[in-house]
C-alpha cells in the first residue's frame, strides 16, 4: 500500500510537533500550581502519538507513550502530583521518543534496549510516586487506566455514555486497540479497518494528530458499526479524500504549508535576478524613441512597482519569528540549572521578532554558547547569591527586538558580572596583547580573543568545546557584532546586533575612478560638496569641518581603485558616513543614485577583500562593489586618526 508512505510522513511531522508541544508544556509546568489545561494538552499529545504509532505499526513509540499517557492521566485527574523528578523523567522520555521517531523516519534500526529502559524508568517512577503519595486512597494500579478511559469518554464523546460498562471493556482492550473503539468496533478487523472506514474513523478520531481525517463529527458509535460493512468497499477513496482535507482540529495550522528551504532560496535568487533585469530595462527605457517613450515609461514604472512588491513578499517568506531559536533554550536552561545546581529563571522577550531564516539557523549556536556562558559563569550558586543579598533564583533574560535595519538580541544575567582583574591576568598569562587605552569595554572584548582559554576561564568551570572567539567569529560572519556590558556584582549583558537580512541592502551608488561603488544607506549621514572653508589640512591630509565636527576622509579612488587621490576637493563629493565606532567622509567623484541592491558574495568564487562587503550586479550587467564602511576606517590616515582621538578640535592648525 504505497499510500501508507505518504501517511507515514504526515504522522512523522505531526508526531514531531506533538513531541515539541509536550516538551514546551512540560518545561512550562508549574509543580506548585499545575494548569490542568496544559496537562490535558500534554496528555492529548501523548495519546495522539500512541494512537498514530499503533496504526502505522511504530510499536516502539506505542509502548512508551502508553505508559506516559497513564502517568499524565493520573496527573490530570489529580490522583498523582507531578514533581520535578517526574517532569525530568517525562522530558527524558520525550527525548527517547524523538530518537525513536528519527529512527523510524530514517528507517534505521530501533534501539530497543533504550526504549525498554526508558519505559522501565517511567513505570518505576510512576509506581514510586503512586506508592508513596497515594497509599490511603482506594485508587489502585489498574485504575488509572479505567479512569482514563472514562475520562476519554467524557472528553471526546465517542464512547457510549456509560463509563461503568466501558471500564471493563476498555481496560481489557487497551493493549491492542487503544480504547478508540468500544465492543462493536472491536469485532471488525482492527488493524485493517482502522482509519479506513469513514465513520468508524471519525468516531476514532478524537485524536487531532492523525490529521488525515476530519474530526469535527462524532456520530454515535452504533451508527458506525452499522455502516462499517459497506464502508469497507470504498475505504481507499475515503482515506484519500480525507487526507486532502486535513483534520478540522488542525485547520488553524492548515493556513501554513511546509516548503523545502531550497525552493525558497531559489525563489529569492530569482527575484534578485528579476530586480537586476528590471533595472536593465529601465536603462534601455530611457533610450527609446519618442513615439513609444511615454507608454514605455508608464509600463516600466508599473513593472518597477510590481518587482518591488514581489521582492518584499518573497523576502518576507524567509522571515521567521525568532522563537524558532529561542524555544530550544528553556530546555537548555533547565538541564543546565539542574546540572550545575543553580536556580535560574529564563525570561524570553520579543520572541515574535522576525528574522531571516538563514540567520535563524546560524545564530542558534552562538546563542546557545552565550546562554551557557551566562549560566555557567555569570549566575552564582544559590548560597553565594543569598550571601550577596540577591534573590536565590538567578534570572537570565533573552530578548530580541528590531531596531532600524538591525535585529538586536541580548542575553542578560543578574549574576556576578565579568571580573576585570581575572580577565586581565588571564590575557597576560596567555600572551594576549592588551588594548590601548584599557577601558572596560576593551577588556570585555578580550574574552573573544582567540586563545583566551575557555577551559579555565574567568570562573574556572571547564568542559566546553568551543571558545568565545568562535562565537564572535560566527556572529561577524553574519555581518553582526557583539558588545558586552557588565557591572560587577550586578550582571552582564551580551548584545548581538545582526542585519535584518543577508540578501538585499539599500544603497547609494557612487562613482569613483570610473567605477561604481555602493555605500549602504544605513551608514550614510549626508552627502555634500565641500566648500573651501570646510576643508582643513592636517599633516598634509585633508579633513572636513562639517556639522560642528572634524571628519577624517577616505578617498575611494585611492583606497579601493588604485588611483590618484583627488587633488581638488571642491570638485569632489564627500559622503559622510558613520558606524557604531567612527564617523568619517568618503571622497567620490559623484553620486549615481539610490537603489536596492542584491548582495552577492565575493567569497563564493573569490575571497574577502578589505573594505568591501560584497558585490552586486548593476542594471547594465556590470559588477559594483558594496563598501564595508566599518572596515574602511583602516584607510583613514593613521596619524589623523590618532589626532582625532586625542583632541578633535584644538590640535587643528593651518
Amino acid at each position: 500500500m504505497d499510500n501508507l508512505n505518504q501517511f507515514n510522513e504526515v504522522f512523522f511531522e505531526e508526531a514531531q510537533e506533538h513531541l515539541e508541544t509536550m516538551e514546551t508544556l512540560l518545561l512550562a509546568y508549574d509543580i506548585d500550581a499545575p494548569d490542568i489545561e496544559d496537562l490535558n494538552s500534554v496528555f492529548r499529545a501523548a495519546h495522539s502519538i500512541k494512537g498514530g504509532s499503533g496504526i502505522f505499526g511504530f510499536t516502539a513509540m506505542t509502548g512508551l507513550t502508553h505508559v506516559m499517557e497513564n502517568m499524565l492521566d493520573a496527573a490530570r485527574n489529580q490522583t498523582l502530583r507531578l514533581n520535578s523528578n517526574l517532569i525530568t523523567v517525562l522530558l527524558e522520555t520525550v527525548d527517547v521518543l524523538k530518537d525513536v521517531l528519527d529512527s523510524y523516519r530514517e528507517e534505521n534500526e530501533i534501539d530497543w534496549p533504550m526504549v525498554e529502559a526508558a519505559q522501565a524508568t517511567l513505570e518505576q517512577a510512576h509506581a514510586n510516586v503512586m506508592s508513596t503519595t497515594k497509599p490511603d486512597q482506594e485508587t489502585t494500579e489498574p485504575q488509572p487506566n479505567s479512569a482514563q478511559e472514562a475520562q476519554e469518554a467524557q472528553d471526546f464523546g465517542f464512547f457510549d455514555d456509560e463509563p461503568e460498562t466501558n471500564q471493563v471493556v476498555s481496560v481489557s482492550q487497551e493493549d491492542d486497540s487503544f480504547g478508540f473503539f468500544d465492543e462493536e468496533t472491536a469485532s471488525v478487523d482492527t488493524e485493517e479497518g482502522f482509519g479506513f472506514f469513514e465513520d468508524v474513523t471519525e468516531t476514532g478520531v478524537e485524536d487531532p494528530s492523525f490529521g488525515l481525517f476530519e474530526s469535527e463529527t462524532s456520530p454515535p458509535v452504533v451508527d458506525a458499526s452499522e455502516k462499517s460493512p459497506q464502508e469497507t468497499v470504498k475505504s481507499e477513496s475515503a482515506v484519500v479524500k480525507k487526507a486532502s482535507k486535513t483534520g478540522a482540529e488542525t485547520k488553524t495550522e492548515a493556513t501554513s504549508i511546509r516548503v523545502d528551504t531550497l525552493k525558497i532560496d531559489k525563489l529569492v535568487n530569482l527575484v534578485g535576478e528579476l530586480v537586476i533585469t528590471q533595472s536593465m530595462l529601465n536603462l534601455i527605457g530611457n533610450d527609446v524613441q519618442d513615439s513609444v517613450m511615454e507608454k514605455m515609461q508608464g509600463a516600466l514604472a508599473e513593472l518597477e512597482r510590481n518587482t518591488r512588491e514581489i521582492q518584499e513578499a518573497v523576502m518576507s517568506v524567509r522571515m521567521l519569528p525568532i522563537s524558532f531559536v529561542f524555544n530550544r533554550f528553556p530546555r537548555l536552561v533547565r538541564d543546565l540549572s539542574v546540572k550545575l545546581d543553580k536556580k535560574i529563571d529564563l525570561v524570553i522577550e520579543g520572541a515574535a521578532t522576525e528574522i531571516d531564516k538563514n540567520l535563524v539557523e546560524k545564530i542558534s549556536d552562538p546563542l546557545t554558547h552565550l546562554i551557557r556562558n551566562s549560566i555557567d559563569h555569570g549566575i552564582e550558586a544559590p548560597e553565594q547569591r543569598l550571601a550577596k543579598g540577591k534573590n536565590e533564583t538567578g534570572t537570565v533574560i533573552l530578548s530580541a527586538a528590531q531596531k532600524g535595519g538591525e535585529i538586536v538580541i541580548s542575553i542578560s544575567d543578574d549574576g556576578a558580572g565579568l571580573n576585570r582583574e581575572r580577565i586581565l591576568n588571564k590575557a597576560l598569562e596567555n600572551g594576549i596583547s592588551l588594548p590601548e587605552p584599557l577601558t572596560d569595554e576593551a577588556i570585555w572584548q578580550l574574552i573573544f580573543a582567540p586563545g583566551f582559554s575557555t577551559a579555565a576561564e574567568v570562573t574556572d568551570v571547564s568542559g566546553r568545546g568551543v571558545g568565545m572567539d568562535v562565537v564572535k567569529r560566527n556572529i561577524e560572519a553574519l555581518g553582526g557584532r557583539v558588545e558586552i556590558f557588565s557591572v560587577p556584582g550586578m550582571g552582564a549583558t551580551f548584545q548581538i546586533n545582526l542585519p535584518l537580512t543577508l540578501a538585499i541592502v539599500d544603497g547609494m551608488c557612487v562613482e569613483a575612478s570610473d567605477q561604481v561603488f555602493v555605500i549602504p544607506l544605513v551608514n550614510i549621514v549626508e552627502s555634500i560638496q565641500p566648500t573651501k572653508a570646510q576643508i582643513k589640512i592636517i599633516k598634509n591630509n585633508p579633513i572636513l569641518w562639517v556639522r560642528e565636527e572634524y571628519w577624517p576622509l577616505v578617498d575611494i579612488a585611492q583606497s579601493l581603485a588604485n588611483d590618484q587621490a583627488h587633488s581638488d576637493l571642491e570638485k569632489a563629493i564627500v559622503v559622510l558616513v558613520e558606524t557604531a565606532k567612527s564617523r568619517f567622509g568618503l571622497i567620490v567623484d559623484g553620486l549615481v543614485g539610490q537603489q536596492q541592491v542584491v548582495i552577492k558574495s565575493l567569497e563564493r568564487h573569490f575571497r574577502r577583500v578589505e573594505g568591501v562587503a560584497g558585490a552586486t550586479i548593476m542594471g547594465d550587467g556590470s559588477v559594483a562593489l558594496i563598501l564595508d564602511v566599518e572596515s574602511l576606517t583602516q584607510f583613514i590616515q593613521a596619524d589623523i586618526k590618532g589626532g582625532m582621538a586625542h583632541d578633535s578640535s584644538a590640535a587643528i592648525e593651518f
Binding site: K600, F606, V623
Partner: protein
C-alpha cells in the same frame, strides 16, 4: 564528474584536453574543468589586488574573478582585443576565469603520451604541470589547472588564511 576529476589528478588515463595559447606557447588543460569559453569583457577592478587579477565579472548572477596568467607568469604580452578569450573553469566548486590569447583545439592524450616536464625551461612551477605532450611536432604543456588555480601562489581563495 568527480570521478573524472579524480582520475585526472591521480592515474591520468586517456582524456581530452583543451589547448590554448599564451604568447608563443601552447598549453593544455583537462577539458572537464572547463565550464565555458567566452570573449573578454572588462572586469570590475578589485582594490589592492595583484595586477594579474583583472577583477570580477558577472557570470549570470555569479561574481567571478578573472585572472590573466600572461601577467602572472610573464608570458607574451597582456593585450586585450576582440579575439582575447576567457576560459571559465570549474575548480573545487568555484568558478574562475583565465584570460588566454586564443583557444586552439581539443586533443586526446593517453597517459603514456604525456612525458614528465624537464626541471628547467618551463615557465610554470613543476607542481602545476602534469607534463609535456606532443602532437604534430608541436609541444603542448599540460597544466594541472586545479592545482594552479587553488594554489597559494595565486591567492585566489581564502583557504590559505583561514
Amino acid at each position: 564528474m568527480t570521478a573524472v576529476q579524480q582520475s585526472s589528478s591521480s592515474t591520468m588515463l586517456a582524456q581530452e584536453f583543451l589547448t590554448f595559447v599564451l604568447g608563443d606557447e601552447t598549453y593544455g588543460l583537462d577539458i572537464m574543468t572547463v565550464k565555458e569559453i567566452r570573449g573578454y569583457e572588462s572586469a570590475t577592478k578589485i582594490a589592492n589586488a595583484p595586477s594579474y587579477i583583472k577583477g570580477v565579472i558577472n557570470l549570470r548572477g555569479d561574481i567571478v574573478p578573472i585572472i590573466d596568467l600572461r601577467i602572472k607568469f610573464g608570458i607574451g604580452e597582456a593585450t586585450y582585443n576582440e579575439w582575447t578569450i576567457v576560459i571559465m573553469l570549474n575548480v573545487k566548486d568555484r568558478i574562475v576565469g583565465i584570460v588566454v590569447d586564443s583557444v586552439s583545439d581539443v586533443m586526446n592524450f593517453d597517459a603514456e603520451d604525456i612525458r614528465p616536464a624537464p626541471e628547467f625551461g618551463v615557465t610554470f612551477d613543476s607542481r602545476y604541470l602534469h607534463g609535456l605532450a606532443s602532437m604534430d611536432e608541436q609541444m603542448i604543456i599540460i597544466v594541472d589547472i586545479e592545482e594552479l588555480i587553488s594554489s597559494d601562489e595565486l591567492g585566489l581563495f581564502d583557504t590559505a588564511h583561514a
